[in-house]
């Protein structure tokens, strides 16, 4: 690195929300039981950090843009974090095209959701706590994004996990919410195990020359193929935990127990995409291990399929969105798996807009219906909530992959790249999932907004949400429409700006464009959207009654009983093992050597007791016998 470009404000970007979290947290902690402070104060404090971070993020973007394409990055090493032997980890931050892209939308959507939350959380007794956690989350996410090496990234990685736990179990008086939080944290930690091991292996393989992305990337060619595969797969285990992929996706639907802004920010737009970001970050490793890429792609697309199947039968509006998130994350992994890193990241980017929009819209609906989340109890809200309706429509179209909206471009790019990079199977499944996506999205949409009200009383009280909630919806809707045009492929007359922008951060091979393949991919995507949306319209467009699920539908509605399976195969045996240790293993087996030795002592004591007859004469006899034996022995040796 002959020319280290250094800026000093990079650290401020994550630091601002963190300071905000600290201040709000301390204020709330010391006042909440005695003299709660006003929501206005917390609101102002809460948005300050994110707003400053956003401004700094934009500044960073423009500074970066002003640099030549080669070596387009800033870095800042704040201090040496720890230095042990060859391991030298700095608390360093790196702004390169990839992280800045993430940085921009994370701060932007994060800030929006902070504003939205002021409206959504109004009246909650833990208003201050919520903003402390939200700020903490944003800070951690920014550390994750801006980290200059895997270890610092891991700080953010775990930090967002912690905040996710805290926010899922935010309504902690109810056991189920806390259990959902626990589940999220524990499942995430299982993934983290993979991350830590992968990171350690990576260090021992090529990390001694500096354990940050730039040095690693330089030394990546020294990696042995088998080692590269192992590292990539272990890191991907971490990604499956954080980004809810098979087999660790089970926590995300449960995570909807948290407040809706949390679901939008953490469990749709930002945190869950960290895994995709990580794979893209390590693109220089994954290109060396195509097998790992294939695993990633197939796990991703199968997750997409599975989640889409689940999504088609859910009745909780947030669960539908949750499964659609899992499904879209699957697409992203398929993208990065087929080595189309920029396409995957681009989908992360567009998805953040329309999924945050959908969640916030859902939150608006839920708020209006007094925390009713069952779509079979909604209906006809189009008239009551026009802003929400139109913005949600845009979100749904984008998610379903309607042409000319953002989701279409990014999804299509992934599917085209799958085809172009030689994964026709992934493409085929992807197209199928696209149709299913359109179906469940519009199923939800029609049930909520069209037809007639199914719950008259709730319907009567429903009204449009306040400005502080609808304005973010509108902004996000604009984003959901236009985000896709940032990376318009040549076939639509664009220049793929995002892909070019990211080229400096990613190691990616662009296949030679084949017009036929590209047209095929586009046609298939459009057809999938049309078919899915049409079926949904036919079934639900005019209103429908809640069906009784039978056969496969019931099986899918119950999520293939995967939770029950995990419970029976992992959780129960684990607890049973714990109980067994407590009841039998600990007292009788591991303590066995202690018990045995004390028993042995007792037995020996009992044995010697026989000799202790108590009669003096007998003791005298023992003595004489001893004397006699000694004499015999001595008379042998004498002479």
């Amino acid at each position: 690195m002959e020319m280290e470009q250094t800026v000093t404000y990079l650290v401020l970007i994550p630091l601002m929300p963190l300071v905000g979290a600290l201040v709000i947290g301390l204020l709330h902690m010391f006042t909440c039981t005695t003299r709660p402070l006003s929501e206005r104060l917390y609101g102002i404090l809460g948005v300050t950090g994110p707003v400053i971070a956003t401004i700094l993020a934009v500044k960073t973007f423009f500074e970066l843009k002003g640099m030549p394409e080669e070596g387009r990055y800033f870095s800042q090493k704040v201090f040496t974090w720890f230095n042990v032997g060859e391991l030298d980890v700095a608390m360093g931050f790196l702004a390169d095209p990839l992280s800045v892209l993430m940085l921009l939308f994370v701060t932007f959507i994060g800030t929006l959701i902070h504003f939205y939350s002021i409206g959504y959380m109004a009246g909650d007794e833990n208003f201050g706590k919520f903003f402390a956690y939200l700020n903490l989350f944003l800070g951690s996410m920014l550390i994750l994004v801006l980290a200059d090496g895997p270890v610092v990234m891991f700080v953010g990685w775990e930090g967002v996990g912690l905040c996710s736990y805290l926010l899922i179990s935010f309504y902690s008086k109810e056991r189920d919410n806390v259990l959902a939080g626990n589940k999220a944290f524990i499942v995430n930690r299982i993934g983290d195990l993979g991350f830590i091991l992968g990171m350690s292996l990576l260090f021992w393989a090529i990390g001694s020359g500096g354990f940050d992305y730039l040095s690693l990337r330089e030394n990546a060619s020294a990696l042995a193929p088998g080692m590269g595969l192992a590292i990539c797969l272990l890191l991907f285990v971490g990604a499956t935990g954080k980004s809810a992929q098979i087999p660790l996706y089970v926590w995300l639907p449960d995570a909807m127990a948290g407040p809706t802004p949390v679901s939008a920010l953490i469990h749709a737009a930002t945190m869950v995409t960290a895994g995709v970001y990580m794979v893209a970050r390590f693109s220089f490793l994954y290109v060396q291990a195509p097998l790992a890429g294939a695993v990633v792609a197939w796990v991703g697309i199968l997750t997409a399929l599975l989640a889409a199947i689940f999504g088609m039968f859910q009745k909780d509006i947030k669960k539908v969105l949750a499964y659609s998130t899992v499904s879209q994350l699957g697409y992203m992994f398929a993208g990065v798996g087929v080595a189309a890193y920029s396409a995957g990241i681009f989908h992360v980017f567009t998805h953040a807009f329309f999924k945050a929009l959908l969640f916030l819209g859902a939150g608006s609906v839920i708020c209006a219906l007094h925390h009713q989340q069952d779509i079979w109890k909604m209906g006809g809200l189009k008239a009551k909530m026009p802003t929400t309706y139109w913005t949600m429509l845009i979100g749904c179209l984008a998610l379903a992959g309607c042409p000319l909206l953002s989701g279409f471009f990014s999804k299509d790019e992934i599917l085209y790249m799958a085809l172009a990079n030689g994964y026709p199977g992934v493409w085929l499944v992807g197209v199928l999932v696209a149709a299913m996506t359109a179906y469940y999205t519009f199923r939800m949409f029609f049930l909520v907004f069209h037809g007639s009200a199914r719950d008259e009383e709730a319907y009567a009280h429903a009204k449009e949400s306040p400005k502080v909630m609808t304005v973010p919806l509108v902004i996000l809707a604009i984003g959901a429409v236009f985000a896709g045009y940032l990376n318009l492929p040549a076939i639509f007359g664009g220049h793929q700006q995002v892909t070019h922008w990211l080229a400096g951060s990613l190691v990616e091979h662009h296949p030679h464009a084949s017009l036929g393949l590209e047209l095929l991919a586009i046609a298939a995507s459009i057809a999938a959207f049309a078919i899915g949306a049409f079926i949904a319209y036919r079934k639900f467009g005019q209103g429908a009654e809640e069906p009784e699920f039978q056969g496969f539908a019931k099986f899918a509605y119950n999520l293939f009983y995967v939770d029950q399976f995990y419970h029976a195969v992992i959780v129960r045996p684990y607890k049973a093992f714990g109980a067994a240790i407590q009841r039998t293993l600990e007292p009788y087996v591991t303590d066995g050597h202690v018990k045995l030795s004390s028993l042995l002592y007792q037995l020996i004591g009992q044995a010697f007791k026989v000799f202790q007859v108590g009669y003096v004469r007998i003791y005298a006899i023992y003595m004489v016998i001893g004397l006699s034996l000694m004499s015999l022995f001595l008379s042998q040796t004498l002479n």
């Binding site: 004489v624 006699s628 015999l632 004498l638």
Partner: protein, 169 residues
């Protein structure tokens, strides 16, 4: 010659006395036998030129200690039924001899290895009161004093133990 004869007589008497002690059923008989052994031993001491010990053996052992024992035996007025029934007595004798034999044999072996020496009577005051006294108070003063403390302790102890009845009353 006469000394050897005397030795033989005393030795036989001493052994007979010892055996009598061990074999006698009633302790009174045993005590009488023991007195006989002690007197024989006194004779042997005199043969070994231990004049003071000869006297002490007669006065202290055969006289004081043995009469104390006899006195107690008579004082307790032991009848036949007071004595423990020793059914397996002969078996114990036999076993005892078998067990003790190696001890005796070993010691005999050791003694045999000693340089032989005549046990003739020594003149020039060997074992006399004055000479033993000089050794006692010159070289053995501390043990002597300790023994005197021991005697005092046993005296007190005996009084406490035997006098317990009065406390009970």
């Amino acid at each position: 010659m006469i000394a050897e004869l005397l030795f033989s007589v005393f030795a036989v008497l001493a052994i007979i006395g010892g055996l009598g002690l061990v074999l006698a059923r009633h302790p009174m008989n045993g005590a009488i036998c023991l007195v006989m052994t002690m007197i024989s031993l006194a004779g042997l001491y005199s043969l070994l030129s231990a004049k003071l010990i000869f006297v002490l053996q007669l006065i202290v052992y055969a006289g004081a200690i043995m009469s104390l024992i006899l006195f107690i035996i008579m004082f307790l007025n032991i009848r036949k039924e007071d004595l423990p029934k020793e059914e397996w007595r002969w078996a114990y004798y036999l076993g005892g001899i078998v067990v003790i034999a190696p001890v005796g044999l070993l010691m005999t072996k050791a003694v045999k290895a000693l340089p032989g020496s005549e046990a003739s009577i020594m003149g020039n005051g060997f074992g006399g009161v004055k000479e033993v006294g000089v050794v006692l108070f010159r070289e053995w003063l501390l043990p002597f004093e300790i023994v005197s403390i021991l005697l005092l302790v046993s005296l007190v102890g005996a009084v406490v133990l035997a006098g317990k009845r009065r406390v009970e009353q």
